[in-house]
Each structure stands twice: as C-alpha cells, then as structure tokens.
Symmetry: C2
Subunit: 151 residues, 2 copies
C-alpha cells in the first residue's frame, strides 16, 4: 500500500526533529547569554513563568509540569529565593508542601527576562517579514499547546 500522504523529508536537515534540535540549541545558548546579567538560567525563568501563569504552586507540581526531578526544583527555588524573586512558605493545610509564589522583585525580573527575549527575537526573526514572523509564532504556539508546554 502506497503512502497517500507522504511528507517525509529526504535529508535530515529537512526534518523538524533536526531543525528544532539545532535551532533550539543555538537559541538556548543565546538566551543563556542574554539572561546572564540577571543571574538567571532558562529553567529559573521556566519556574517563574509557571508561577506567573498558574499562581502559587508546590514544588512537586512544578517538577511534574516542567518534567524535571523534584531535587532540581529545590536548587532552582533556592536560587530564586536568594534573588528575592519568590517566596517559599509551608502550606498551612499540608505542612509537607513548600508553596512558591512570585514576589514583586520576581515580577520585575520576569519583565527583564521578557525584554531580553524580545531583543533576542528581533535578531532571530531579522530575515523574516512581519507576516512570516507572525505565522511562525502561531505555528510554534500550536505545537507548544499540543505538547502541553506553556503558551
């Protein structure tokens, strides 16, 4: 039986898997550099984005949503707390839980990170016209939504 919907690429650089891998790695390196002055890494921003989107959350929820080990969330939260970006309080109803929430300083940092990302975007999307840029963002949004990533 023939393939009625053949969308296969004929070489690896033409696949989404390869393109997302290479572009993703490059963009992440640039983002890391852009965040360095804020003393943040992408995963710290990831935590703050979650808190910003869904409100206060226990560390385990964050670990599950981000797909990382709970022990990693400990060190991410340690650092964010040291920066004054989050508050860490024991849940009165369940004192095993450490509930994280964004502080004013955290919101400031998040705004700074957003500004850095927007500057980076301007560079990245340089070769794209306005319409293409919007289309790209829309398509990435669809994939992110489908994958359960923040969007």
């Amino acid at each position: 039986m023939l393939n009625v919907n053949d969308v296969n690429a004929t070489s690896l650089p033409g696949t989404l898997a390869f393109r997302f891998g290479t572009l993703g790695a490059m963009v992440t390196d640039l983002f890391v550099a852009a965040l360095a002055p804020l003393d943040l890494k992408p995963k710290h921003v990831g935590v703050m984005v979650m808190l910003d989107l869904h409100g206060p959350a226990a560390q385990l929820e964050i670990a599950r949503t981000m797909g990382v080990a709970p022990s990693l969330v400990v060190s991410l939260a340690d650092h964010l707390e040291k920066l004054g970006a989050i508050q860490r309080v024991r849940d009165a109803g369940d004192r095993r839980r450490q509930v994280l929430s964004l502080t004013g300083k955290g919101r400031e940092l998040l705004a700074d990170a957003l500004a850095a990302a927007n500057r980076l975007d301007a560079d990245l999307a340089g070769p794209l016209n306005e319409k293409d840029r919007k289309e790209l963002n829309r398509l990435l949004g669809v994939l992110a939504a489908e994958a359960g990533l923040p969007h």
Copy 2:
C-alpha cells in the same frame, strides 16, 4: 520616539526565544530516544550530516562548523569509527590532519536516523495540516540558513 514596528511579545511563552528553548529541548529528548537503538546521539548525527553535505573534512573544520571544542570531536569520531560509520585517515598532504569520511555503513546509519526523524516528525506535526506543515518547515529553513546551520 515611538516604536514604528512593534512586534514585542507581552509574555515570555509568546517569544521565539522561549518557544525554541522549550520545544527544542522536548524534541531533542524525543530524538535522543529515537536514536538510542542506533547507538547514536544527535551530535554524532550532526557530524555525519556534515560529512554527507560537504564531503570529507578534518576534525577541526567539523569542530568549528558545529561550534564545539575540538576535543569533543575526538570522542564523537572515536565512537563513529567504532561503529564503522566513518573512516579516519591522515591527510597525506598535511599529516597533522585526520580526515573523516562517511563509509557505506555510515550512509546506512544516516538513512536509519532519517527514518527515525521522519517518524518523529509525523508525531510532532500531527496537529498541523499539510499547508501549515510546509510553511513551518520553510520558515525554520530560512532561520537555519540565516544562522549558518545545515539546511
């Protein structure tokens, strides 16, 4: 002075920087899993893709093009050689150079990796219709080309 071409996102998940970071990490994890049966990692495939596109090359050229340390290329080449995927011969004209070239087995592995990537693509692009899928691939290709990545 007002911004005449305001394309700034208003939240981080809406930026290209964030989207490429999260999607790139997710896709890379899936790709790593898909390559595991072949005993390859994305960087091994990266080396093979370079050899396939530009022909035989010295290790240092590969390091520069891939943006990694020369010492890393040593271990990548070691592994590829062990798999029989590449040949490593001293350049007769400049005996400091180790020239890498794909073997028949290497081309087979590359084809297997391509098949794995295409299967992954089918999953990834599931929620996209044919037109969107083509458009996404085109836009990613533009960015990859602009960034000097394989395309």
